[in-house]
Amino acid sequence: MEVSREATGASDPFLIQVAPRMFITPDGMMRDEFRAMGTTIDLLLPDKQAQEAARVVRNLFATWEETLSRFLPTSELSRLNQRSGTSVMVSTLLFDVLQTALAAAQQTDGLYDPTLLQQLLRAGYDRSFDVLPADQPEREGTVEPGGAWRDIQLDPTLRLVTLPAGVGLDFGGIAKGMAVDAAIASLKQLSLDTALVNAGGDLAVMGLPDGYTAWPIAIQGQKTSWLVPFHHGALATSSVARRRWQQGTSQRHHLLDPRTGEPARSSLWSVTVAASTCMQAEVATKAVYLLGLQQGKAFLIEHALAGFLLEEDGSWSTAGSWPAELMKPLEDTDE
């Protein structure tokens, strides 16, 4: 069992979370696990191709992290952020992720916003969460809302990016989701027909293990988890249960509301979305969380996605084609 940092002490009941690590490795498959992009990457790969496949995926995540992490001062993203206000030629990877992030911002009417770096820093999230102190001092200054993504200029021909002066990028989960999708694509190129790639809860699957009719995936709640038979596609979950810290007298978390620039307030405790790609699922979870229960469900239906929405009081509901009838409660995760 891996105890998350929140389990180490606070009176907030939402902080008492224990991540289940009693996962089954199907016959004929091998599990590999490593740290990258600020989270744990979990792989299920066919035995015979596991070594080569794991090496490819590890290299992929290492490259993505070296390019896109805002916590690495030498990353390409950090260098771009330092040069806001000027045109900078960037790599294909950074340009593609930025283009996708801006498209996501546009199609969520700014609910997903990749330009909230200054707001995150002000909220105290200034280093990787692994080393973030539980208590942060209050910071001076007023909080600006988001929306600066509208002023980013791109030149696709030369891959030039011009960030507005003083604006920095933090891709958040979209980069992780895209990395999962890229990993699945790489495994297909290696002729794998069965695999699962999970980056801290954002996962994608292809094929099925021998003897399985679906991938049994645990969806974590406050006290209860559910088992969902997932067949193909991707799942992502956004929750305020993790990545929380104290700043002065305020409880902070990493999901900022671009409309205010402050940590979001929502009646939802977590949102899990099923989609074709992990990028889609990741963006949709953020948007639904910010929209709240009813508008969030409408958003999912509008985009032909499926979702599982868990509220702070423990009640839950589904949207789209999410199979509530196939969900099976697991044992309590409290300890």
Partner: protein, 149 residues
């Protein structure tokens, strides 16, 4: 002897003389039969009277009009093709307002797909799906999890 040679006596230079090899090719050594021969009869037909000036001007005007129309259509089509392949730009700096699009090469990209955007589901399969009955897995426990990261 080809008719070209007959009708251009001034150009009857040595360079225009058919070579021996050329002459030995019977198909080209003979006058071209058929319509060509009829268009260039040995005796010229009586000349038509010159076109009246107003008629000529009318024809020129018609041609001008068509040239303008075809040019506009061509530019329009070409411009449309270019714009459809060029990302739009966001020009509105005000928070909370909708972005407008222009053909500025320094552009904020539109969605990856103009029809379905980033949430577009793949055509003809793919997408996402859930499995059969839970018991279909023989009571297997979870192989992985999705939780807030």
């Amino acid at each position: 002897m080809p008719p070209y040679y007959e009708n251009n006596p001034q150009k009857n230079t040595r360079l225009n003389q058919p070579s021996l090899l050329y002459q030995s090719f019977p198909g080209q050594a003979q006058p071209f039969p058929g319509s060509y021969a009829r268009q260039r009869p040995p005796t010229q037909p009586p000349r038509r009277p010159p076109m009246p000036k107003h008629q000529a001007q009318a024809i020129v005007e018609t041609w001008k009009r068509w040239i303008v129309i075809v040019s506009l259509l061509s530019f329009g089509t070409l411009g449309g093709l270019i714009l459809s392949n060029m990302p739009a730009t966001s020009t509105n700096a005000t928070n909370g307002t909708n972005a407008t699009t222009t053909g500025n090469p320094l552009a904020t990209p539109t969605a990856p797909s103009s029809t379905g955007g980033i949430f577009q589901q793949p055509q003809g399969g793919g997408g996402f799906g859930f499995g059969g009955q839970q018991g279909g897995n023989g009571g297997f426990g979870p192989v992985s999890h999705s939780s807030g990261s």
